[in-house]
């Protein structure tokens, strides 16, 4: 994606001067903030031999934690796509009393220390919590099991979807929908053929961000997960566990695996977006 815009900007006359300087700055900045710390991570794992590395990253508890972390993150991101879109829709299309407050509330999960979120969710959903006490007699347990992980991840991921979809919805022309209706489209057709294609790229971006954020989340999950080996241990907890054994190399090995999987997933999502944009010609 960056390559495309780079190529384009080379051909076109540049509006702003200083392309070389800003590019240089961008690359230096990215190296300093992202690449150097990440390469330190990779170098640390080089202290392990291949069999050691393999053993560190494929232990049964570690494998179970990948499944939970990536699975719960995926579910949470998907839930956020549906309900985040709904929230964004309501915030853009309707005026109601207290709209500004609701709008501000959406950002709260960004600002709240995640540990606070985890503790309050646990207090709410545990067997003796406000909500948990009514659910438990029905046999529904939301805290101290994988359900709790998903709920915490939904909480922290919500603003990503809302905030990426909102501006695109604001820009979408209402006239198009009216035209669609005039031409005899049903409500579902208007949504699926007119509205959805224009917001799909933003929705995908929001999904990717919520997903990526969820994979790395530690603070909020740890209080509500119950942390049982093979059942509700997330991968970041495995990393902490290895650090507690002073197994720095093992911890970084697992971190590298997470990094690689996340990077591949994000790359796939980016490629999907590019493909989608080319096919619909919708503005990004």
């Amino acid at each position: 994606m960056a390559l495309f815009s780079l190529a384009r900007s080379h051909k076109a006359a540049r509006v702003l001067p200083g392309f070389n300087i800003t590019l240089g700055f961008t690359l230096t900045y990215l190296s300093l903030i992202v690449l150097i710390p990440l390469s330190a991570l990779v170098f640390k794992t080089f202290t392990l031999t291949w069999p050691q590395f393999w053993e560190a990253v494929t232990g049964p508890r570690v494998m179970a934690s990948y499944k939970l972390t990536f699975g719960a993150s995926l579910i949470a991101a998907l839930v956020n796509v549906v309900f985040g879109l709904l929230v964004a829709w309501v915030l853009v299309r309707y005026n109601f009393f207290g709209k500004k407050v609701v709008d501000a509330l959406v950002d709260l999960p960004f600002a709240l220390p995640t540990a606070v979120a985890g503790i309050s969710l646990t207090a709410l959903l545990a067997g003796n919590g406000w909500v948990g006490q009514y659910l438990e007699p029905m046999g529904i347990q939301l805290a101290f099991n994988p359900n709790g992980v998903v709920i915490a991840l939904i909480f922290i991921g919500l603003p990503f979807v809302v905030r990426t979809v909102q501006p695109v919805l604001e820009d979408a022309e209402k006239e198009l929908e009216e035209a669609a209706t005039c031409l005899g489209a049903t409500r579902w057709q208007t949504f699926s053929r007119v509205i959805f294609p224009s917001i799909a790229p933003a929705l995908l971006t929001g999904f990717a961000m919520a997903f990526a954020r969820a994979i790395g989340e530690y603070g909020s999950v740890i209080f509500i997960a119950g942390n049982m080996p093979m059942v509700s241990e997330i991968t970041p907890l495995i990393i902490i566990g290895k650090l507690e054994q002073y197994d720095y190399a093992g911890a970084t090995a697992v971190a590298v695996v997470m990094l690689v999987i996340s990077f591949i997933l994000l790359l796939v999502i980016n490629a999907l977006q590019a493909w989608q944009r080319r096919h619909t010609g919708a503005p990004a």
Partner: protein
């Protein structure tokens, strides 16, 4: 982030210490020792002034025991480390930050106080829990710290194992016994305080296995009479080791002060402060004086069945060890 904070904090302290005439000492310690060292520092500052005429300022840095050890290893300029597991100081010895023979530098394995594991049950002990074998019974929910993430949990595990061995079981029997207890654990807490919160605030579990010293803070924070402290027949000796950080004192020239600070932990005054905070003093006279808190139960040193805590770590708690088998071997 936390490390950054630590280092900036340490740098700021260092800068401050060169300005002020009084020497400062940074004590990197574990989380729940906060209250004890607050009282101890006041006593030590007064004692140091009386004996040497010099003013001294003690700063504290608290965190999870092994997180603190890692911070010191990575550059936190603490003069002394006061931990609750020997593995944390052995790690620092292995990286050369503290002396290799640190355990011989002070009396009693360089551990001025000890603690042990006991049970907290709900008020009145409704499930009638008396000893470790009660924790294996079906229908009893046990709250224990995850031995992977907390020294508290490792000690609980080793204490249960030692009990099984004392009852005449062999290692295989002990493994089965400990596994049975962990099968009764509905939630593995991340650390000592997390376990207390799960037990008392979330109201989960019938019994909490924790350090004896935690009982006092439970009474203080949640009010007395909410829990009963139950002493099992056998438990483990958990040493609270201390060491001088050679790297820092060489740089700051605080070697003598650091030594005096740790030595004073063995004085009658300090031992009595420890006893008030439910840390078992080494002094037999004081142990007797506070016998109501420190019930005389059979205490097993880690060396009796496990060699040392580092060896126990390798066999039981490292990845693929005995603890993992409880969950991965069906």
């Amino acid at each position: 982030m936390k490390k950054l904070l630590h280092t900036t904090l340490a740098a700021a302290l260092l800068a401050a210490s060169t300005l002020a005439s009084a020497q400062t000492l940074l004590n990197a310690s574990y989380d729940v020792a906060r209250e004890f060292y607050k009282d101890y520092n006041t006593a030590f500052v007064a004692h140091y002034k009386n004996t040497t005429g010099k003013d001294v300022k003690i700063d504290q840095a608290h965190g999870g025991s092994s997180a603190q050890a890692r911070a010191v290893n990575d550059g936190l300029d603490a003069d002394v480390v006061t931990m609750n597991t020997t593995t944390d100081i052995e790690f620092l010895a292995s990286t050369g930050v503290v002396a290799k023979d640190w355990a011989k530098k002070f009396p009693n394995n360089a551990s001025p106080t000890t603690s042990t594991m006991l049970f907290l049950t709900r008020n009145g002990n409704p499930k009638g829990i008396k000893d470790w074998d009660d924790l294996t019974k079906p229908g009893v929910q046990v709250i224990i710290v995850n031995p992977k993430t907390g020294g508290n949990g490792r000690m609980a595990y080793l204490a249960a194992w030692a009990y099984a061995r004392k009852k005449g079981m062999n290692d295989a029997g002990a493994a089965e016994f400990v596994a049975k207890i962990f099968k009764n654990v509905p939630v593995l807490a991340k650390g000592g305080r997390d376990a207390t919160t799960i037990f008392l605030q979330r109201n989960i579990g019938d019994v909490l296995v924790t350090f004896e010293s935690e009982v006092v803070s439970v009474d203080r924070e949640f009010g007395e009479g909410k829990v009963d402290a139950i002493h099992p027949s056998v438990s483990i000796i958990a040493e609270n080791p201390v060491a001088v950080v050679e790297r820092t004192v060489a740089k700051k020239g605080t070697g003598e002060l650091a030594k005096a600070y740790l030595n004073y932990l063995y004085s009658d005054e300090a031992q009595e402060i420890a006893a008030k905070h439910a840390l078992r003093p080494r002094s037999p006279a004081l142990l007797k004086k506070y016998a109501a808190t420190f019930k005389p139960i059979q205490l097993v040193p880690v060396s009796e069945y496990f060699g040392s805590l580092s060896e126990a770590q390798k066999v039981h708690f490292n990845d693929g060890g005995q603890f993992d088998k409880i969950y991965t071997v069906k």
